[in-house]
């Protein structure tokens, strides 16, 4: 009785009633996510930004994540609709105005993966891949990771994730989780330029993180989200306007030392996580990059790939 379709195949009424019932099941990479809490801004967002994603109006099986977008449970003096993400465990949830439901939705999914996923080593990183393997970019917020991820998509890479590298326990293979790329403030026009206007979601204005927009995952990214990849390049990018382009090859230990802290569940998984992170370097080489523009970062990556190939040959 339950069928998997794309969001774009569903009517607004169907989505609304499924969200109300709390029975909307969103399939993304290795996770099945049950979403509840209907609001117009969320439906708009799903229809726009998740249009190509696989969903079920009624779940055919149990799920990894239950995300409830509900009203904040506080007594308020003035009534104004608000929303908080509730992933089923206690999280610091900021009540957001209902127009920011998309943000609450994205935050809720991120929290669920960061804090509750144990089946993969989760590393705060952007990941893209081509037929030769994956590029993992681990960086702090504001270091240009999202822009770089978006730029690599235009170079023929497919999107794995903008937020989390999911590293398989045991085989250290990277798992796609093609969620939309989150763009903040000044990166929005840059990516709009790169990707084209039709790939950018409407802007959520005045959020706690400033203006936010999303670059949608492409249908091809979503349809290949079962295809895993081995890492070929591990990057620690740093963007600062006007910076001279620079790259430095890191030895394995130094790279491990920088990846461990970027993992949200390393301590939780212990030895399995250490071994998986170590195994990433069976095929991958690591670089630290700094650059002042997207073009520079792309040519640094080309150089790094060339060096890696030369070394292998």
């Amino acid at each position: 009785m339950s069928t998997v379709t794309r969001v774009s195949d569903l009517s607004r009424r169907e989505i609304r009633s499924s969200l109300r019932e709390g029975s909307l099941l969103l399939h993304l990479g290795p996770f099945a996510q049950l979403i509840s809490g209907s609001s117009d801004p969320l439906i708009d967002f799903l229809q726009d930004t998740y249009r190509d994603c696989q969903v079920e109006l009624f779940p055919s099986d149990v799920t990894d994540v239950h995300l409830n977008l509900r009203a904040p449970n506080i007594l308020r003096k003035f009534f104004r609709p608000q929303v908080v993400p509730d992933p089923g465990f206690e999280v610091p949830a900021v009540p957001l105005p209902i127009e920011m439901a998309p943000l609450a939705f994205e935050m809720g999914l991120n929290l669920s993966v960061a804090l509750k996923c144990c089946r993969f080593v989760t590393i705060h990183a952007g990941v893209v891949a081509d037929k030769d393997g994956a590029i993992l970019m681990s960086a702090e917020s504001g270091s240009g990771k999202s822009t770089l991820t978006a730029a690599l998509l235009e170079r023929g890479y497919r999107l794995f994730s903008d937020e989390f590298a999911l590293v398989g326990l045991g085989d250290a293979v990277l798992q796609p989780y093609p969620r939309p790329i989150s763009l903040k403030e000044e990166t929005i026009p840059i990516v709009r330029e790169l990707a084209g206007d039709e790939w950018i979601s409407p802007i959520v204005k005045g959020s706690p993180k400033g203006d936010i927009a999303y670059r949608r995952a492409r249908r091809s990214d979503i349809d290949q989200s079962h295809k895993q990849a081995k890492a070929k390049l591990i990057l620690f990018p740093e963007f600062e306007p006007g910076m001279r382009p620079y790259k430095r090859r890191l030895n394995t230990a130094e790279a491990i030392l920088r990846l461990i802290p970027a993992s949200t569940n390393f301590g939780l998984l212990g030895e399995q996580a250490y071994l998986a992170i170590t195994r990433l370097f069976d095929d991958a080489v690591a670089y630290e990059l700094s650059y002042g523009s997207t073009e520079q970062s792309l040519s640094l990556i080309d150089e790094a790939l060339q060096e890696r190939d030369d070394h292998a040959a």
Binding site: N251, T252, A253, I260, G267, G270, E271, Y274, T278
Partner: protein, 100 residues
């Protein structure tokens, strides 16, 4: 800070089953399985770990053996530094007094 009382006659042990180490440039990235913590050890602290693996030793014995192994004099590798490093290592669970 040590992980418990330390006396001079304590003999220290370690086991290579308890950790995974990666070496680079005379420094060791050491993952401790029991605590799931990762530490950086230099040649001295890692030397203490490997030295105590085969036979339990007091701080004094350790200092002597390490000087021999690394070709260092009493002044270069002081007893005090060995004891200090022992208490740092004690905190990681990489080494322990033999009865524990």
């Amino acid at each position: 800070m040590a992980a418990g009382p330390i006396t001079d006659d304590m003999k220290w042990r370690s086991s290579s089953d308890g950790y995974i180490a990666t070496e680079f440039d005379d420094t060791y990235l050491v993952f401790v399985k029991a605590s799931a913590e990762t530490h950086f050890l230099n040649f001295l602290s890692f030397g203490i770990v490997t030295e105590t693996e085969s036979v339990a030793q007091t701080a004094t014995e350790l200092a002597m053996n390490l000087r021999r192994r690394f070709e260092l004099t009493d002044e270069e590798l002081t007893q005090e530094l060995v004891s200090l490093t022992l208490s740092e290592l004690d905190d990681t669970g990489l080494i322990w007094p033999e009865t524990v």
